[in-house]
Assembly symmetry: C2
């Protein structure tokens, strides 16, 4: 009997955390990684060293720190595709049939933290390792209508309100258009100035998290200070990449992004 | 090297669930059980077959279904005492120093479901099995101020409001007096009628969950129907024990219990 193993695609900090965790339970084969280029792109899927005998292929559909995002489900053949969609679920329509398993923490686009949604293909249910905690055993959860233990009722209630809000916005197609418009406002500006820059490969840019850099890093603190005065918080990039990062999840309005881009232009005028 | 094992005290449904789960990770020695008498009492601690080499002794401090409760921490010598306090934490003062580990879901006396509190003795941190999910590894949680992953922020906020409410009530001593008064109203009545009875040994009766039986089970449905008309819901006992059960957690008022006892008396008058 061959030791079970899984293929992982490493596109950043969240992929790395998943790989580290998975190594407790199986052999991990990193089938592709963009670590060498600082996680500024997603490895082209035709370069992935996938093994048809892998138990599954794992991706993180959106990396919040590096700001890279899959814009379609990669083709991984017959092997089940597993996706951590914590930071972009509900930001756009997805073809669920292309995935074996989707999991996502609620706290970005779905509701309060403390709730995780999993969507598991029927035939993948019932294969838990004997050491799996019962609450994480999809068969036990499915057999109990996701109420094996007392579920986080209030978080589920709030998620229900968010689903209703999404429907009122026009559903996932409408929210995707909304998100494309917001991200486009920032990326278009970044591509037409030398004062700021986007470190991410154009085709892999995230619609949720937009990292950008000031050409002159010495101005970073002044940029953040001015943003704070306009009530724009949390714009500092993660310490592992530096620079700035605009997180523009579903709840961020177009007006909010317009204020940011307006501020960026003003700051450039004053300091450029 | 001896296989690690743990001593468990089986006092009902929640103990049984813990035993079942623990068997995935170690050998379980059931050092005492009240199963033979239908979990209507807690085995006297001087009859427990404890092993001084056990990794820990596990108890469930309050069994919601059977309605038995420890009224003090049992003496288990040098072995760490581990307690599932999900259904009676914050209902009374406890001497935390007598426990190696306390864990409790928030949903009874602390706040919304989806939050679990653990209190771990410093020297017991850092002994997780390699297969422990990182979020359940107390060392990783302690090293990250309980924010290894995004914590359930809203549930923590509500728990904070409950802690403030408890302080306003006079703290845990006052809430214990309140709980004793409530439970006393029901138990005193149960002990002075033959129409109803308490199945639980007097010294082990829970202050949180009061199971009781009608002498004539044929009246059960009528009792529940009348209670419902007075907006008293969820009085039906768990199917494994039958009869009735009044759950009177911290949030239940004395007036609420008085209405219940008044109804019980009326019902006895009409049907006794």
């Amino acid at each position: 009997m061959v030791e079970p193993f899984a293929d992982y695609i490493n596109t950043g900090e969240w992929s790395k955390k998943s790989i580290k965790e998975a190594k407790k339970y199986c052999t991990v084969n990193v089938a592709a990684t963009s670590e060498a280029t600082g996680f500024t792109s997603i490895p082209k899927s035709d370069t992935w060293k996938l093994d048809p005998n892998a138990a599954y292929v794992h991706i993180c559909s959106n990396e919040t720190i590096g700001g890279v995002q899959y814009h379609s489900a990669p083709n991984v053949g017959e092997v089940p595709l597993v996706a951590d969609m914590s930071s972009d679920i509900l930001s756009r329509p997805i073809d669920v049939s292309k995935y074996g398993l989707i999991y996502a923490g609620a706290q970005k686009n779905m509701g309060p933290s403390g709730l995780t949604v999993t969507i598991v293909r029927d035939d993948l249910i019932g294969q838990a390792l004997p050491i799996t905690p019962s609450a994480f055993d999809y068969k036990q959860q499915a057999d109990n209508d996701s109420m094996f233990n007392t579920p986080p009722t209030y978080a589920i209630y709030i998620a229900g309100l968010v689903f209703q809000w999404l429907k009122k916005q026009g559903g996932l197609k409408a929210i995707e258009a909304h998100n494309r418009k917001k991200a486009g406002l920032i990326y278009d500006y970044l591509d037409n100035t030398t004062f700021y820059s986007s470190p991410v490969a154009r085709e892999d840019r995230s619609l949720m998290n937009v990292p950008f850099k000031l050409k002159n890093e010495a101005l970073d603190e002044a940029f953040l200070k001015g943003a704070k005065e306009l009530n724009m918080l949390q714009l500092k990039g993660h310490r592992s990449v530096g620079g700035m990062r605009a997180s523009i999840y579903n709840a961020m309005s177009i007006e909010g992004v317009e204020v940011l881009v307006g501020y960026m232009k003003d700051f450039e005028k004053k300091n450029g």
